[in-house]
Amino acid sequence: MKYIDEFRDGRLAAGLARAIAREAAPGRDYAFMEFCGGHTHAIARYAVTDLLPPTVRMIHGPGCPVCVLPIGRIDMAIRLALARPDVIVCTYGDCLRVPASGGLSLLKARARGADVRMVYSPADALALAVREPAREVVFFAIGFETTTPPTALVLHAAAAQRLDNFSVLCNHVLTPAAIAAILESPEVRELGTVALDGFVGPAHVSTVIGSRPYERFAAAHRKPVVIAGFEPLDVIQAIRMLIRQVNDGRAEVENEFTRAVTRDGNRKAQALVADTFESRPSFEWRGLGAVADSALRLRPAFARWDAERKFALDDRPVPDHKACACGAILRGVRTPTDCKLFATACTPETPMGACMVSSEGACAAHYTYGRFRAAAQRTD
C-alpha cells in the first residue's frame, strides 16, 4: 500500500541499522523512550530492537490511551450503564475489555444487562442517538489529541441539532502533560529510576498539535525529541536522529514525520478543541497518578451534553490490581516480563491490567511479538 509499504522496506532498514551502528558512540549507552503505543507496537512487531546495537535501549512509555485510563473512570461508565436501563454506553472497541473494579469490564457489564456498544467513530454514537430518541446515548470518549477533535465535532453537531439524548463522558488526555509528568515526577527525580536520553515523539498526535509543544521540554529538560511516523523505518530513523543529537550534545525538537507533521499542526482542529473543551485541574492516569492540567472536560457551553454533569457522576479513584506492574511499566521502570502475572494469569484473552488489552500496550505487544524471540535468545 502506498505510503505504508515503502516505510517497511527491509533493505532500507538494513542500511539505517548500519548507519546507527556506525554513529552510536562506542562506550556509551543510549536510552530512549517511545511515547506512543503505535511505536511500541511497531518496535515489537518488526523486531526493531534486533536491528539496534545492544547499547541502544528502548523504553516503552505511557502513550497508549487505553493503558493509561484509570479503573475509576471505567467504573463510572459501568455504574451508569447498570443503574440506568435507558442508557446506552458507546465506546471504541479497545475500551470494552479493560479490567475495572469487581472483576468487571464494560463487556462483562453487558453480560449483566448493561447496554454497551462498540463504535468505530464518534459519528456512529451520534447517529445512534438520532435513531434512538427514547434512549440516552453516552459516548465514552478516550484518547489523546487525535481522537479529541472528532469528539468536538460530534458535540457541535449535537448542539446544532439540539440532540438532548446524547452526551459525552470525556476522558481525553494531553500528551505534553504526560511527558512532563515522566520527566518531573518525584519518583523519577528522587530514585533516578529512568535515565532517559530522549524521546521518540508522537506521530498522529503531532499531526494535530504540531511539533511546537515539545520545544519547551527540549529546552527546559535538555531532552531531544524526534517526532516519528509509526512505520518501522520511521522509528529506526528517529532513533538515529536521537543518537546524533546526543552525540552532538544537542537537545532539540526534530521532525522525522515531515510527510504529515508541521510545526503548527492542524490549526482548524486545535481551534475546534479549544472552543469545546477546557483543561481539568487534575486527572488521574494509570501508572502516573494525578497529573495537573493533563486532561480535558467539556466547556460550560456544552454542559447539556456533558455526561458527568447530566448524570451527576462522581469520580472514585481505585488503586490498580496489586500484582499488576502496569504502573511501573508505563513509567519505563520495569518491563512486561518483570510482572509475575505476565503470560500466566494475564494474557490478551484474560487481561489483568490495561497494558495487556490494547495491541499498543507494552505487555500485549511483548506477548504477541516479543516472547518467542526472547525465549529463542535465551536458549541460544
Binding site: Y3, R18, G143, T146, T147, S358
Partner: protein, 88 residues
Amino acid sequence: MCLALPARIVELLDGELCRVELGGVRKEISLALVDGAALGDYVIVHVGYALTRLDPAEAERTLALFAEAGLDPAAARDHPDAQRGSST
C-alpha cells in the same frame, strides 16, 4: 487505538464527507477537520476522520534520506562483513 493510516481520496461527497481507498477497501470518512483536500490526495484517517493531508514530496524526501543512510560510503567500510579480520 491511535493507529491511523494514509488513505487516498477517491470520491468527494456532500456534507464534508469523502470516500477513501485503502488496500482495496473503500470507506466513507469525514473531511471536516481538513480544509482544501482534493480528489487523489492522501489523508491520514483516524476514527472516521481525516486528521491531515500527507505531503507526497516530503514522503519522497524521507525515503531518499533512508536510502542515503544505506549508501553512505562509510557504511560499506563499517559493515560487519567488511570488518572481518580487522582489529576492531
